[in-house]
């Protein structure tokens, strides 16, 4: 609280007052852009014509940024988090069965509850079910390649799928993307909106992947790599890997004793 504001509220400034912590404005922590790939990253050629060149205008968070869409179980169907069954026509899709699970947290370490997580990926052969994908690996008739989940009260999510394959892309003539799953996450405010990708521990393509290596911070890069989580595997059924996602933290708001945004 500024002295001036105190003065306007209580002219008897010399009277001792108990100190109470200042209420935050509910804004999100400043985004640390050194944790993110820069907009203009020439090693990733598509970024050259698609990156703004003017400085971003820093915007103190207003109600437009600290609010965001609210989703509920009514928005989802019962098979949305099961990529092995949500497009199956006459059997299971081909590939290594895996469980992907983790928590959506904010930078203070709190779970982000009831937030929408969406994911999409190529099939085991590295082919996407997308009319613009022309890679020669076959479409799997039993695999759609997308799903979604709401986190629970603790920020936990999980889904079942098959491990995606690597595939070539036109950056250089011989460029290959490591196996990965795309994630889209909302959080409680629109300023937390994030799209990222999860990679798999031990994949030899990770160090040569030009999009990933544009991240300037080595730790930030490694946090996109999901470790094998044998304890979470289903014996004789599926291996598991764990992927936690961290969204921006939020200064305390009017909701002092409640999880941010709820």
């Amino acid at each position: 609280m500024h002295a001036q504001a105190l003065a306007s509220r209580d002219p008897r400034l010399n009277r001792p007052e108990p100190f109470t912590p200042p209420l935050g404005d509910g804004g999100f922590f400043q985004r640390d852009r050194s944790m993110h790939p820069p907009a203009h990253a020439p090693g990733y050629k598509s970024s050259v014509l698609r990156s703004p060149r003017q400085a971003l205008l820093s915007l103190e968070n207003s109600v437009s940024e600290i609010t965001g869409p609210v989703f509920g179980h009514n928005d989802l169907g019962p098979l949305d988090n099961d990529l092995i069954r949500n497009y199956a026509k006459d059997g299971d899709p081909v590939g290594e069965r895996i469980i992907v699970h983790g928590r959506v947290l904010d930078e203070t370490g709190r779970g982000v509850p009831n937030t929408l997580v969406e994911f999409w990926q190529a099939n085991a052969g590295g082919r996407y079910r997308h009319k613009k994908d022309t890679y020669l690996a076959p479409i799997d008739p039993n695999f759609g390649g997308c799903g979604r989940a709401l986190t629970d009260d603790t920020g936990y999510y999980y889904f079942r799928t098959v491990k995606p394959g690597p595939y070539p892309w036109r950056n250089y003539v011989n460029s290959w993307r490591p196996a990965h799953i795309h994630f889209s996450v909302f959080g409680s405010g629109f300023a937390q909106r994030l799209i990222t990708q999860m990679y798999f521990e031990g994949d030899p393509l990770i160090p040569v992947w030009r999009i990933l290596t544009t991240i300037p911070d080595q730790d930030a890069l490694e946090r996109l790599v999901a470790p094998l989580d044998l304890n979470a595997s289903a014996p004789f059924d599926s291996l598991a890997c764990r992927f936690d996602i961290v969204l921006r933290g939020q200064r305390s708001t009017y909701f002092e004793n409640r999880t941010a945004g709820n």
């Binding site: 922590f29 698609r50 820093s58 207003s62 940024e65 609010t67 928005d75 930078e107």
Partner: protein, 208 residues
């Protein structure tokens, strides 16, 4: 050494890639999978407010429209209230309006459209009034971290002139990059916008 603060770090952003439609708009990828789908139509027949079509393109540094871009919009309802508990303003909530939608650009023309309502003026937590606007988030192949911008309305000149965010933009000429132009077409109200990623008319993007 002092005690560690132990904050976590935000997960790094990655491009949405060329196949973002699979996950977020599967019908555009060419298949039908979910029982319920999100879309570019924000209104139901019972939503309060003036029906508008938002229509525009995102243009790259060569002047070419992006044909694989995805936009999301987030806006207040006709009373200026966001459908979220952190909006403590007094405007009435509209149960028929979530205030959020997403759209992929047309694969040929690059055109992006939304069917929504014109939002009311925003009352901020400080009691400050902001001009009606729509928050926009842009992702695509080649965009490493989602771009945030806003759309204001050309018929709100007085409100725009007083808007605290528009006035943060140092060069008045750049403020116009955020104004959607109102017109009428076949009895419908259309607001047209162009988002330029580069060039002399580069759109103002925010670090929110």
């Amino acid at each position: 050494m002092p005690q560690p603060l132990n904050y976590l770090k935000e997960t790094a952003s990655q491009t949405a890639g060329p196949y973002v439609h699979i996950g977020l708009i599967p019908a555009m990828a060419g298949f039908d999978i979910f029982e319920k789908n999100f879309s570019n139509v924000l209104v139901t027949p019972n939503t309060q407010g003036e029906r508008i079509t938002l229509e525009g393109k995102v243009i790259d540094g060569s002047g070419t429209p992006l044909r694989d871009v995805l936009l999301e919009i987030w806006q207040a309802n006709a009373a200026g209230r966001y459908n979220h508990p952190a909006d403590r303003s007094t405007g009435a909530l509209d149960e028929e309006f979530r205030g959020w939608g997403r759209a992929g650009s047309d694969f040929e023309s690059g055109l992006v459209t939304f069917e929504t309502i014109k939002p009311g003026a925003i009352i901020d937590k400080t009691g400050r009034k902001g001009a009606p606007h729509i928050n926009v988030w842009i992702v695509a192949r080649g965009i490493n971290i989602g771009l945030n911008t806003r759309l204001y309305f050309s018929d709100e000149e007085a409100a725009n002139a007083a808007d605290p965010v528009l006035n943060l933009i140092e060069q008045p000429v750049r403020r116009s990059t955020l104004i959607a132009r109102r017109s009428e077409r076949a009895g419908k109200i259309v607001y047209s916008f162009t988002i330029n990623l580069q060039g002399p008319e580069e759109t103002v993007f925010f670090d929110v």
